[in-house]
């Protein structure tokens, strides 16, 4: 990329770095050098800029992103791209727990594995994980799509609303009210478009299974009246 604007966290504070990136006037491509696992890197961005985090990120990297394209060269700590609204975040390594938590929109791509509670309470974000996800992923997920090319841990999709979950590998167990669904032609188109967006080839859409809500939990059911 030409004309990369550099921010060296060995030379400036986190707040100075984020202020530059958060400016409405920010344009072009940026690189954050020496991130060293610091928290809250490149959060709250609103301009359609490219940001490279050149190393390991701590908690909440790329949180609340709107429109920016953020790439994390290394691993990301808990809550990467939490509450993302739009734009794109790409983790080249692994992500810790609660990746993409509560995200409303945009695309989160994780090349490695994601930890526990990936996509917890997601509200429209799309998440594509090339590796596996940990336990309680997509817990209470409301909308959006979680694609897992590897395996899923225990209690996948517990208390799920209307998010869709595609898993290619093994699911250790399904959470309450999550069930396997038949994949429609529309689902296949959706899955393929997300794999394409994430740059993942070699995994045909037909090799995935779809999981969704059985819708027995989130509406009041009169038979459960005695439970309240």
């Amino acid at each position: 990329m030409t004309n990369m604007q550099e921010i060296d966290l060995a030379q400036c504070t986190l707040r100075e770095a984020n202020s530059q990136l958060q400016s409405e006037d920010a344009t072009g491509a940026w690189a954050i050098r020496n991130p060293r696992g610091r928290h809250a890197l490149a959060v709250g961005l609103t301009a359609p800029i490219d940001v490279l985090i050149d190393g390991q990120a701590g908690y909440y990297a790329g949180g609340m992103n709107q429109r920016a394209t953020i790439t994390i060269e290394g691993n990301a700590g808990p809550g990467v791209a939490e509450n993302m609204m739009s734009g794109r975040t790409h983790v080249r390594g692994n992500a810790s727990m609660a990746a993409g938590a509560t995200g409303h929109g945009g695309l989160l791509v994780i090349d490695g594995d994601a930890g526990a509670r990936c996509g917890i309470s997601m509200k429209g974000i799309d998440i594509v994980v090339r590796g596996s996800v940990g336990h309680m992923s997509a817990f209470m997920a409301q909308s959006g799509t979680l694609v897992v090319c590897g395996d899923a841990g225990e209690a996948l999709g517990d208390s799920l609303y209307e998010a869709k979950i595609f898993v290619r590998g093994e699911v250790r167990s399904l959470g309450a009210d999550c069930e396997e669904k038949d994949m429609t032609a529309q689902d296949t188109v959706l899955l393929q478009s997300l794999l394409d967006s994430a740059g993942i080839t070699g995994y045909p859409a037909g090799s995935f299974r779809l999981y969704g809500s059985a819708r027995r939990l989130y509406h009041f059911h009169v038979d459960n009246a005695a439970a309240y």
Binding site: H39, Q56, G58, G77, P78, M97, H135
Partner: protein
Amino acid sequence: MCGIVGLFLKNPALQPELGRLTSQMLKVMTERGPDSAGFAVYGGARHGQTKITVRDLAPAHGAAFERGLADIAGPDMTVAFRDDHMVITVPSEHEKAARRFISSFGHGVAFVSSGDSIELYKGVGLPEAVATRFDLAGMSGTHAIGHTRMATESAVTTAGAHPFSTGPDQCLVHNGSLSNHNTLRRQLVREGLEFATENDSEVAAGYLSWRLSRGERLDEALTAALADLDGFYTFVVGTRDGFAVLRDPVACKPAVIAETDDYVAFASEYRAFARLPGIETATVFEPEPQRVYHWEHAA
């Protein structure tokens, strides 16, 4: 919230650096635990000798304390001071008598740890200040475990700071909180254990020591802990030859491990690793919940 760090050296050439690297990591974890800190450093074991760490002896009684110990342990006893802690090395056959003397001496002295190679230091204050007070950076050894504390379950005192040592060469640090520690403490007291604090983590340490004292291996004791301890925890447990890691099934307390040919490092957050040598090419991963991880030097 608390912070944990651990460093287990595979390459003996790094042993003189153990304290310096551990103190760097401990300082980075200050935001996770600014009220107190502590660390156990393993090294310098000599055949037939036992190291006993004590703290808070009133200085006016130092001479009488040393005389009394010398009467028990003989001329081979050595004493090394580090701020308000002291490490007493005695021939192992005199350890029991020395421990009895220490517990009955009074004048503020409190037992901290004992074993072939463990030395344990802890205190109230910012981690950097605690590490500086004891000159952690100047210590060498085979492995070390450190903790920065933000108290949730008991008072901010030196006794409440981690690590807790409840058995020979054993120590435990904890990030989290246990919900059944009072019940478990009562059960363990009936088994003959004694506890110095109201702290939940001390109960976890005592529980593991109790199981180890019955002949279980560390991995067996930790597996049993999954069934018997209720609450949130990331534990790091130190023994004479290594360390182990265990996370509860929910695993909301963070943990990350970095491994190279030279060392295995543990921390609550990656940023504690940022200045370790060779970290750029280390294998970095999160330990899975409910799985016992264990590294050990060949005995």
